[in-house]
Symmetry: C2
DNA sequence: ATATTGAATGCAAACGTTTGAAAAAATTTC
DNA sequence: GAAATTTTTTCAAACGTTTGCATTCAATAT
């Protein structure tokens, strides 16, 4: 029945035999508009379901009120927590979030950024893809910075870029986790590392290594194996660890998923946790508190990171020309549960 | 150094002392443009990092290439899987996804929809919030339909709306789950139900009830308790179940999270799974295969739902005026694992 | 030399809205 | 009743791009 074309200000103007300006002003409660005119126009507008075309406004004001969020995946707890944090702060301010998933692909990341810039997105939150990281590409980021579009790194970052970033203190979190295992008395601590090259992986790895060094524990290369952050990817490496002539008596997983995978393998082998083998994860994902035994882990405040990143963005937006990028590093916190509490 | 204002076609035209039309044509490889002119303009454009302003194009063509996804939450596996499915199909076609999280709030849902319409979003994928559902509000949906903006329901839906929808066959999935428990020999099957009123909860509940009826099993009200879809919300209800004078010998959880919560409580009580108590979840989330024991569950093809929903959207978009809404119901599939395999 | 062709470019309108300045209309003042 | 004032409305430009049509200019054909 109704034409599918949305009602415009011009349509209303025609109906009232007045100019579009009058309609615009009436709808915006401009004082210099006759009270009756205003009322009539507003009523009619409501009746026909008029809705401001924000696209034209974006063009006029050069403000789109939309932000880009570019992440490698959204199937992990942490990523969605970050997005929720961004949402919490920015949605009430009228911003719309354009979520782009790169699937760890450089090309998709590049295209996403280009698209966001074309759409005149006002800011971009980025966690770089693995491919990008590996290859060390960065030209696609240059163009973002050249446009002076605020670029905020979340989670994965390029260290030598002059932008704001909000990350979690992975290093000290990992350090604390391993220190805890040592304090309990575990001697042969393995590490199921994340993919090489990523800051997250490397920082946690560094925390692991440096902690071992501090306590004069031997560093065994054969106790360090790579995973891909997900449960499945932990299965084989853990099996290999447990089949070693001198197997580890504890495993520090790069995240909870990996630790849970390891937990499964250990149990299948008939090992008791934490008596025979200690386990620690990273993330404090909701499930970690309810595994059996519950998983000792390192809390990683995803929501908070999202909220801090929002703050950094707003700072940069409202800041004067001589803007200085900020780096926020939120502390991570050891959460001790059953999987490491050997008495 | 560089002005922050993006380079426009006009800027380039001024530089070459030609008209904007020429620049536009040159950039778009229009045949009626001199080869040299074209080359020069394209080179210069690249050099200064010209990037088409898609906002102006959206206004001109009345096409925004952006779609809205309105969901109650993104912290569950299923939701993110759906979004990934949408992404998989629609991102390559040039669409941008605007994700709006309603946090189960009617007001946020209403505002999100209104915003999406104002932004001339070309289609909306909606899973209605719990509040909306409870209150039975629907006017905010009317305006979407009146605008003839394709509206696709995913997951949670209003049954009496003339729109396309893609859902999973919750009823038969639940039925199969309970039937499986019965076939194994479990006699007192409890159900940790989802929030009342939601289609998802009710369909699974119905599957549970009807299956019990079919096999002439008694339906015990005291074995049916509500949860809120997340792990924590299963803890207390499960405790209550297990403290009953006549406790259940199996629990069917409305989803994996809930089942995992129940698993934890059962183990804390020293019960053996599946010998003392059988457990079945719903979703087939990645973690469910790696709990100990692994969780019998019902596979819910989130990615596929997203992809089907995309298809429905595209159908409606390309369809003729007399468009007939489609309902896709994907089958769910029982995945038998250890938590229910009592021999 | 003139007409004809063809290639290359420019003009102007359009998308929907806002806004400063100008114009018109209504009201007040003397 | 005219001038001054106030209220209300319209005009025109702007945001950046595309595109049908008109125009320009040079080259070719007659």
């Amino acid at each position: 029945m109704n034409s599918s074309r949305p009602v415009t200000i011009k349509d209303i103007a025609r109906r009232f035999r007045c100019s579009p300006s009058t309609v615009s002003r009436a709808l915006n409660d401009h004082p210099a508009i006759n009270e009756d005119t205003r009322k009539n126009i507003q009523e009619y507008a409501k009746e026909v379901g008029y809705q401001r075309n924000e696209v034209s406004l974006s063009l006029l004001n050069k403000k789109t009120a939309s932000l880009g969020v570019v992440v490698p995946t959204i199937s992990n707890y942490y990523e969605t927590a970050v997005i929720e944090g961004l949402h919490t702060v920015l949605q009430p301010m009228g911003y719309t979030l354009n979520i782009c998933v790169t699937n760890e692909s450089y090309l998709l990341e590049k295209e996403s950024l280009s698209k966001l810039l074309s759409n005149r997105t006002e800011g971009i939150f980025l966690s770089v893809s693995q491919e990008t990281y590996d290859a060390g590409y960065y030209e696609h980021l240059e163009s973002v910075i050249q446009r002076k579009t605020p670029l905020i790194f979340i989670d994965r970052e390029y260290e030598d870029f002059e932008t704001s970033r909000a990350t979690v203190d992975d290093y000290h979190g990992a350090f604390a986790a391993v220190e805890h295992l040592i304090s309990i008395g575990y001697k042969q601590i393995a590490h199921l590392k994340g993919p090489n090259g990523l800051t997250v992986s490397e920082q946690r790895f560094k925390g692991y290594i440096n902690c071992l060094k501090k306590y004069n524990m031997p560093i065994r290369e054969d106790l360090i194996l790579n995973t891909n952050f997900n449960v499945e990817s932990a299965i084989l490496p853990t099996k290999r660890l447990l089949e070693l002539a001198s197997p580890p008596d504890a495993i520090f997983g790069v995240n909870d998923q990996v630790a849970i995978g390891a937990m499964r393998v250990a149990k299948d082998k008939g090992l008791r946790i934490p008596q025979d083998i200690g386990l620690v994860g990273f993330d404090n994902s909701p499930i970690s508190a309810y595994t059996f035994p519950s998983l000792t882990t390192v809390h990683r405040p995803g929501r908070k990171i999202g909220m801090e990143a929002s703050r950094l963005f707003l700072n940069q937006l409202n800041g004067s020309g001589d803007f200085a990028p900020e780096s926020i590093v939120l502390p991570s916190e050891l959460v001790i549960r059953e999987s490491s509490l050997r008495i």
